[in-house]
Amino acid sequence: MKYVDEFRAPELIGRAGEEIRKLADPRRHYRIMEVCGGHTHAIYRFGLKDLLPENVELIHGPGCPVCVLPMGRIDDGLSLTAKPEFIFAAFGDMMRVPGTHGSPLEYKARGMDVRIVYSPADALKLARMNPDKHVVFFAIGFETTAPSTALTIIRAKSEGLPNFSIFCNHVTIIPAIRAILDSPDMRLDGFVGPGHVSTVIGCRPYEWIAQDAGKPVVVSGFEPLDILQSIVMLLRQLRNGEAKVENQYKRVVPWEGNRAALRAMAEVFELRPYFEWRGLGFISQSALKIRSVYGEWDSEQRFTVPGVRVTDPKAAQCGEVLKGVLKPSQCKLFGRECTPEQPIGALMVSSEGSCAAHYNYSQHRPITIASAAAV
């Protein structure tokens, strides 16, 4: 696959690993946070931790939109649509996320009309094909996904489609990073920045992290070579006592972001005064809601939504793991009561959740390249 395979070349990966070992000062212990769930997943999938020296530690950040969604919002979405005249549409990742009375898939087994879609445009198509039902698209995601939802709402309005609305749970990444930096439990040296969010917002929004908080940020792609190169760039900055924002993912990320995408978002969305994030509590100006001019396509403006706040089960430590304070294996329920098959929290369900990644990828001893080649 072009633009994928070459960034997985084993020899270059080996060299990048070597460079990291050369750059890492043995007297220091580096704590680098990768913000985005997609990076967490890639790190585990390609076994990148095995390539890093002991004193370079990767901390998983809260950039997994499924993981940070409080259970109450899932309950709201499901209770709204658990009636015969509704269709509940969402990405595959949402389907097994537990609400108080079950996950969307479990609701489907009980007779609710639940559909997996791969694009908000698919949900729009569902509405066109089922004029006698109301399709609610349960929208999640950071700024990577919000513009696509925005464009879909714009299209729905121009068509005057009456039986379609969005239950909007889009959140923004900068307030989450601010909350991490403000947290007294965290000591971080630098950030691997979210590559795909940055295709929309560009690299400027991270400048305060370098200038005010004094931490280097490298906006990174998702292939193994991208992530390793980003770590090289961070270690170089740290060695030189620098703190600036760099763009490793130049082939895809424009420094100024995607103006058309930002315009679509500004047209359709405004910031909620505050929004609850699982594990991080209420954060102001951190989530998007649909403007009243598009109110007909906003499930919350069109219908009454219970808005019940649900706290996580007491024993579950989703919050601490989300902030990077605890490693997944340190949560008391990890691998016992909470597994990918019987998840208690969303971090174990989402393919980008650090608990799911740790469970699937980490429970073995590293195998050397030599023995792997001996077949």
Binding site: E6, T199, N258
Partner: protein, 102 residues
């Protein structure tokens, strides 16, 4: 699903210039070009696809530059300095707006 993957534009829809058919190693999918209004997109271009929408054009030049940088990793500091002099790692050198505006 927050996957974004590269795909090649095969054809622009004759009836709707906002839609294109994209190829990902032999699998074809219709993709919405509505977020790429500031850039012109043609068959043969590569784009990054996320939830059925094209998010960004992929720069062949930047990808090649990056591979060059990666290939010289592990060589001497002197070689690195020399390469930096050529501007391959220079954020101000960019054709598609990939570095900071100075």
């Amino acid at each position: 699903m927050c996957l974004a993957i590269p795909g090649k534009i095969v054809e622009i829809d004759a009836h709707n210039a906002q839609l294109a058919v994209v190829d990902v190693v032999g699998v074809r999918r219709k993709v919405d070009l509505g977020l790429l209004q500031e850039e012109s997109v043609h068959p043969g271009d590569w784009v990054l696809i996320h939830v059925g929408f094209a998010m960004s054009k992929i720069s062949e030049t930047d990808a090649a530059d990056q591979m060059r940088t990666l290939m010289i990793l592990g060589e001497s500091e002197a070689a690195m300095q020399e390469v930096q002099g050529y501007g391959l790692e220079n954020e101000n050198d960019d054709s598609l707006g990939r570095g900071p505006v100075s």
